[in-house]
């Protein structure tokens, strides 16, 4: 395998999973903020569904979106099956509940008085919400990193929705699957170690650098 192709593979992984994490966070954190600061009927049910969804197997999400995005499916007109966009959508769906769940408990840990204090000092509700997010910033970063780690290491969605197209949608995990099925274990092992390295790096950040500040 050429070094350039290898770099391209790594880049696809980082780009797709990075964007998926970013978009999922933009959706999940405000939602978690709302859930953590409001009491309403059905909230427990929402949290329960979210928890269940967290454990959804990647291939099930892959399969679901395969049907949705295939030419004859309801979203077939967009023609995005077997593209990076399709992989990204699948990964967003995969990690959204994870980030919601982690962010929810991170925001719940912030004293309810933080919001009240911000409001009484003259903050608008959005400024007060921002303060709560700021007070929970380290556990929130952990939530995002956990989401990214899950996205970058999954293979089912990338395979089914990306199609493992060389130079296009082939990423680290689908390459590992391909190389090992071809019997090219040395390439698979190198990439496997690389992926482990990325997730290890994230976990190290989570466990050492950030923990002290939490």
């Amino acid at each position: 395998m050429m070094i350039l192709e290898l770099l391209k593979t790594i880049w696809v992984s980082l780009k797709v999973s990075g964007s998926a994490t970013l978009i999922a966070s933009l959706l999940a954190v405000p939602l978690a903020l709302f859930l953590s600061s409001t009491e309403f009927k059905g909230k427990r049910l929402i949290l329960l569904i979210n928890q269940t969804w967290m454990a959804a197997p990647t291939v099930v999400i892959g399969l679901l979106f395969y049907f949705l995005l295939s030419r004859t499916g309801p979203l077939g007109a967009f023609g995005i099956l077997f593209s990076q966009t399709a992989m990204m959508i699948g990964q967003i769906v995969l990690i959204l509940p994870l980030i919601i769940g982690f962010a929810y408990s991170a925001l719940r840990q912030v004293d309810q008085k933080a919001r009240l204090t911000a409001l009484t000092l003259g903050a608008s509700p959005s400024q007060a919400g921002w303060i709560v997010i700021k007070e929970a910033k380290y556990p929130l970063i952990i939530a995002l990193l956990a989401g990214f780690a899950r996205a970058v290491s999954e293979v089912g969605i990338s395979m089914m929705l990306g199609g493992n197209i060389r130079g296009e949608t082939r990423n680290i995990t689908t390459t590992i699957a391909l190389e090992s099925s071809k019997g090219e274990f040395s390439n698979a092992v190198v990439l496997g170690i690389l992926l482990l390295g990325i997730t290890l790096g994230i976990n190290l950040m989570v466990n050492t650098g950030l923990r002290e500040k939490v």
Binding site: L116, T120, L121, G122, K134
Partner: protein, 343 residues
């Protein structure tokens, strides 16, 4: 000159969804520019009232006017009015970061130009004797310093109304008078209306132009005579404090440490002291009626001075029946169960 009203409350009710507690206030007005103390045992509704006055909780029922305007009319109006009143909670929350970060929070959201910040933070810190603490991380502050910072963080925005929930509860004895003079100073210099809750009667009377009493979510006509403090002692499932030598107040249960208790004036029985030794049991005190006032609802308010000083409520009709008038010698009695403890 007409006195402006900071608050007008009419038929206010606030229900907590989770429990039975409710705050009910028929008619209550707070004049602007004054210092008002809210006094009562824990659970009396003082904190809830402060949250309502701070426009942080909406009354379940009734009308609350803040400087003659209903702030809950619209969200925009509410946020505008909230900028005029600051509540300093009991065990205040400090934002992570430094003392300076905390102080400028209110200035930042009010879009006060940055060049002004330095002067104002310095001034505010000096008032609470935390000079030079600007760059200190809040994690390193003691509970008392945190309380003082929270006060400075509120004062710095120069609110029209300052609400303080037990402002000296975490403060070292030596600094209580400093905090009290800050309260007086802010009121005098900026004519800020200050409403604070306290358990400390002498503090309430020392600082406030007006003292309001609360019990069980209602405003009551308590008087400070029925509050007593002392070190608790226990024997045989009863405890007592001895506020004055020889005068013991008994109450049920085992208790330790310094306690304050309150006896509701309605729960005190009064007798003319002419049949000595006919009363027996705990919590009997003798004295003389030193004040007699006629109040609403055909009630007489009595003040008794003797072993201990009590405030007693009695239907006017019973005065004659019991032969009680000014300077009568009297005995008072109340059940140990009528004694309410304040932690």
């Amino acid at each position: 000159m007409t006195i402006d009203l900071a608050y007008q409350l009419r038929g206010i009710r606030y229900d907590y969804p989770a429990n039975k507690f409710a705050l009910e206030l028929e008619n209550l007005e707070f004049s602007a520019g004054r210092i008002i103390a809210l006094v009562g045992p824990n659970g009396a509704g003082k904190t809830t009232l402060l949250l309502l006055l701070g426009l942080l909780q909406k009354p379940t029922q009734g009308e609350l006017k803040f400087f003659r305007v209903d702030p809950w009319q619209s969200q925009e109006l509410l946020f505008e009015k909230r900028k005029e009143v600051v509540l300093v909670t009991h065990h205040p929350y400090l934002f992570s970061g430094t003392v300076f970060d905390n102080l400028v929070f209110g200035l930042r959201v009010r879009e006060i130009p940055e060049p002004e910040w330095k002067g104002r933070t310095g001034e505010a810190l000096a008032m609470v004797e935390l000079n030079g603490f600007e760059d200190k991380p809040v994690k390193e502050l003691s509970a008392g310093q945190a309380q003082r910072l929270a006060l400075a963080r509120a004062i710095i925005v120069k609110p029209r109304v300052l609400l303080l929930d037990e402002p000296t509860a975490n403060i070292d004895a030596g600094l209580v008078s400093r905090i009290e003079s800050v309260i007086s100073e802010v009121n005098a210099r900026l004519s800020t209306t200050i409403i604070f809750s306290t358990h400390n009667f002498s503090q309430a009377y020392r600082l406030a132009d007006q003292v309001l009493y609360f019990s069980d979510g209602k405003q009551v006509k308590y008087s400070h005579e029925n509050y007593f403090s002392g070190k608790a002692e226990t024997a045989e499932k009863m405890s007592w404090i001895e506020p004055k030598p020889g005068a013991k107040i008994f109450f049920p249960g085992a208790h330790q440490g310094h306690l304050t208790c309150v006896i509701s004036p309605e729960k005190i029985e009064v007798f003319r002291d002419d049949r000595k030794n006919t009363l027996s049991g705990p919590n009997i005190f003798s004295g003389r009626i030193i004040r007699l006032e006629m109040a609403e609802n055909n009630l007489a308010l009595l003040r008794m001075s003797g072993d201990l000083n009590f405030r007693i409520n009695l239907p006017i009709a019973e005065l004659e029946e019991k032969g009680i008038s000014l300077s009568s010698p009297v005995l008072v009695r109340f059940a140990p169960e009528a004694v309410e403890l304040i932690k």
